[in-house]
């Protein structure tokens, strides 16, 4: 059957079903028209009120400030296209406000220097640079290609640390030169070379604000369109062989990634636990590994209830749309 035949058949849909959708479209259409074609004066008023409200709320970081500036700039030009852009920017602003998307502030890492023999430090490789704390993320065999410029040397000493705030520039639980990672923001990811030619990446997973999954997975990892293989493992098989998903599953995977990006962040400690569960780790059901074209891996922990978090970024998580999460789980349960 030709796919165009379906469109011919759709032309014979029952009128009552079409009419029901017409009614929905009409409502939306009216709203758009008022905004789009309303007078410039009205548009200006809306813009001023919206922008003023947003400034009072003080919720913007750089990206949204850009939208705000576009809106103001467009309003001064006085042409219709520009005013439409202004309306679009205001709609985006309003959407942010409606979702209450102030974001989650991940606090600075608390380093307890009073522990005997630096036990905490032994468990996790980390270092401090430019006011941030970078923690070990992954070791990459062939990662030398994306090692960027050298930024400094970590002393690897803990006894120099300032007891009061737990921070000393270039101190850490490891030692050696560290570098930028090509293609990644230095404020998020850095790396160190290992003696065997591999590279260890470090991510700054604290003292930052994240709103939706896209803030992490797109703005920082550029996930969409850049992964080439997706693997997973059940928690029972955590140390077993990884299972690769097939290309046939790509549509569900893409939906899942989109849903992860859309979902607002929440505190992982707020994941509700069932009776008998002691922590969220009792709800961990799958791990997914998105192998990126550049050799990086985005590792996700999937929890019962649709919660998803990034490996080594466990302070926050997102709750994915339940339908989409179930579809993803169904693919994983079927063995890919």
């Amino acid at each position: 059957m030709k796919k165009e035949l379906l469109h011919d058949a759709l032309n014979l849909l029952d009128d009552d079903m079409i009419e029901a959708v017409e009614a929905l479209r009409g409502k939306k259409k009216g709203k758009i028209n008022r905004q789009k074609w309303g007078s410039l004066a009205a548009c200006f008023c809306v813009a001023v009120v919206a922008i003023a409200a947003v400034n009072r709320a003080g919720i913007f970081s750089g990206k949204e400030t850009g939208m705000e500036q576009s809106a103001e700039g467009a309003l001064t030009t006085g042409n219709e296209a520009a005013s439409s852009q202004a309306v679009a920017a205001i709609e985006a602003v309003t959407e942010r406000e409606e979702t209450g998307a102030e974001g989650i502030v991940i606090p600075k890492m608390e380093v307890d220097l009073n522990q005997s023999d630096g036990a905490t430090m032994d468990m996790l490789a980390l270092f401090f640079y430019q006011g941030r704390c970078y923690v070990e993320y992954e070791r990459i065999e062939n990662g030398i290609e994306f090692v960027g410029e050298k930024l400094g040397t970590i002393k690897g000493t803990v006894d120099e640390w300032n007891i009061k705030d737990g921070y000393v520039e270039l101190a850490g639980s490891i030692s050696g030169d560290f570098y930028a990672v090509d293609g990644y923001d230095q404020s998020f990811m850095l790396c160190m070379k290992n003696y065997d030619g591999s590279v260890t990446t470090f991510i700054n997973n604290n003292d930052i604000t994240v709103r939706t999954g896209a803030d992490l997975f797109e703005d920082r990892f550029h996930l969409t369109g850049n992964y080439e293989i997706v693997e997973y493992q059940t928690i029972d098989d955590e140390f077993g062989e990884l299972i690769q998903l097939s290309e046939e599953d790509e549509e569900v995977i893409a939906l899942f990634v989109e849903a992860v990006n859309d979902a607002p962040f929440m505190l992982s400690k707020e994941i509700p636990l069932d009776e008998g569960e002691r922590s969220r780790s009792d709800r961990l059901i799958y791990r997914m590994f998105f192998r990126m074209k550049d050799g990086m891996t985005v590792k996700l922990n999937l929890f019962k209830g649709g919660y998803v978090e990034l490996w080594r970024f466990g302070y926050v998580c997102v709750q994915v749309d339940s339908d989409i999460f179930e579809q993803m789980i169904a693919v994983l349960e079927s063995g890919g």
Binding site: K2, V21, E22
Partner: protein, 186 residues
Amino acid sequence: MQDEKIVDLYWQRDEAAIRETEQKYGRYLTKIAYNILADLEDSKESVNDTYLNAWNSMPPHKPDILSTYLGKITRRVSIDVFRRRNRVKRRASEYAVSLSELEDCISQGNVTEAEVDVRLLAKAINDFLRTLPEGARNTFIGRYYFLDPLKEVAAYCGMSESKAKSMLYRTRCGLKAYLEKEGFEV
């Protein structure tokens, strides 16, 4: 003007019928045409052809719901124009995108178009859509009948874009299974 009166004007062969139709439904029909053709001039032409078709078909027809009657004409005319265009002129319209999405419902088998009765297929699709929850049905019709962009469909159906996308995916898979069950070689 009420639809009944507009239809009466057509039956009376009064050219005011065209003016009233244009005034009431011009934008609605242009949107349908534009979603298919992605070209304003071609869309206007399709809408003008719609008025001519309406003029020629009323009488004998006396539609109960004028909007859907006209919308179907615009949709059919615009799809015909889309198909007549050579490949170079084809644009990335919502119709073109929807064609690739609908591949989930069918495979490119050996069954020729002539072998499938469009009316039987339409009946099966109608029956299938009536089995769906209202939200899924509206989303499907918004995307594949009106060919509205996913973002718009999600907005007027009151759900997130990713949820609408997921819902459409499941509906397409469900339609394929349903058509197979009904004996269509898909």
